[in-house]
Amino acid sequence: MSSQATAAPTHPNGRLALAALAALGVVFGDIGTSPLYTLKTVLDYTGPHPDPAAVLGALSLILWTLFLITTVKYVNFAMRVDNDGEGGIIALMTLLGVKTHHRPIIISVGLFGAALIYGDGAITPAISVLSALEGVEQIAPGLTAYVLPAATVILLALFAVQPFGTAAIGRAFGPIMLAWFLIIAALGVYGIMQHPAVFVAINPLYGIDYLMRGGLQGFLVLGGVFLCVTGAEALYADMGHFGPGPIRLAWNVVVFPALILNYAGQAAIVLAGAPTEGNIFYRLCPAPLLTPLIVLATIATVIASQSIITGAYSMTRQAIQLGWLPRMTIKQTSEEGYGQIYVGTVNWFLMIVTLGLTIGFGKSDNLAAAYGIAVSATMLMTSVLLFIAMREIWHWPVAAAGAVAALFIIVDGSFFAANMAKVTEGGWVPLLLASIVYGVMWIWHTGATAVQKRVESEVTPLPAFLELLQSGKVARVPGSAVFFTRAKDQTPPVLAWHVRHNRALHETALTLTMTVLSVPRVDEEERLTVEREGDHFWRAEVKLGFMEHPDIPDILASAR
């Protein structure tokens, strides 16, 4: 068990609840807005008039998928494996593949999983906002033509405001999402009342039976069912910020019950004979309340999209720090709090892809075909890494770790296989994107390693340079200078160049190397080490974690 998990109960209850409320606004947007399109996509597979066994089977599969993947795999397994409190696939990969010894295969698995997250990060905002707005078709069919332009404008505005940061309005996200969950739960109860027998679907045999008898079509339905858990990886990725306690509380007390009630309500009205064309989620809602619900759903999907964009910035910063992506300009948008950074390159890249997908696919039905492949592949990668963690961190016997991991891998693998069936309909888009991102990561890292080798092969050892300084042939002029170098124990090339060309050196000189460790954060006391190498000549090393942003003047200023 991680240190954070054991520390959580010592929180005063009020603070825990407040942290859980904040987590609602960041962690659960994606998984919480999936009811807008999951059952609808499933019904596309089963046809317009599904028989009751199919509806109950699909509902049973949705409920058990939510339970197995989110509650069991992420909340109870993944969230207990942390890298100094930090979760997510990059932290897990660093923990297993870099920290103790260098293991290229684990690194590749982790990085490809991360690259896939960018692919789906571009689809989630498109499918969520489109499906939220598609509710207007139920109020006024004449407005259908405006859904796509409206979604495009909302998404464009969302990306355009990113440089300003969201700290000012972020405080409202938690309460709004709480309202969303309460309302979808209430709508679910309203639906269930129309056909209470729907609750038999809690029995997993309905789902298994449907899968077994459904043949190929039953299997393909899994591609739709999977959409209910596309946001589950976020619980793990955001663990470092909120701590596992608040995320568990929010999931168990608010999100999971609300999702169960809502999916059951949607299935109940289908069984009670509601028309299945259009968006089944909105059929739950009494007509007079439809307009406010569409507004709330749209806001909820924007909040969900916001956390995906913020998550992409954070993942990018980690990859840059670990040397897997080129340096990009990272802007601090506010002092503290979640989503305090902005990475322009990532923002515009995501904006182009998201808008391209929105306009290219046009409807949430079509986007559903592209959605899911990347997340299911990432989840498969996480399961593989979890198996290694169970073996090496918890020291579980191979049979126990193998049994648990096999369960996860069978579930993830089935979803991945079912999603692969959608590859020609659009699933190739996130796969292509992920391959490009992975290629960029690989080439950048290989190139940077080659540069490092080249730099190290050409430098002079430090003692030879110090001898030159001592000999008095180099004039020392007033002032001080800091020389950055990657060659830690050698003469920095910039220093050698400076002395060769100016035949002089500042009175005080400091060489500085920045090292990024395979932990998320480094303690203040361990951040900077300074050693005296000669007369007014110092050698310093700055150690940073992969979640930290280098601010060299600030670090130097904090030293005495």
Binding site: I443, G447, G479, V482, P492, H498, V530, D551, A559, R560
Partner: protein, 67 residues
């Protein structure tokens, strides 16, 4: 950094600015990958910005590195 004798308002930061040149030697990465890496290096954020150094206290020294 008084212990070291550095006045941070007056210090000069020296940062290397490397221009990557794909070598014709056929070693290392395939040629197109080296070219892509060089392009990424040219478009990456400047090291001095990434380290958040004050603009008017930085000296960048360029050099070519063949890979």
């Amino acid at each position: 950094m008084r212990g070291v004798g550095i006045d941070l308002d007056d210090v000069t930061y020296y940062v290397g600015s490397e221009t990557i040149v794909p070598a014709e030697d056929g070693k290392g990465l395939p040629r197109w990958q080296e070219a892509l890496f060089a392009a990424m290096g040219r478009n990456a954020a400047r090291m001095s910005d990434y380290l958040q150094l004050p603009y008017d206290q930085v000296v960048e020294i360029g050099r070519e590195i063949e890979i």
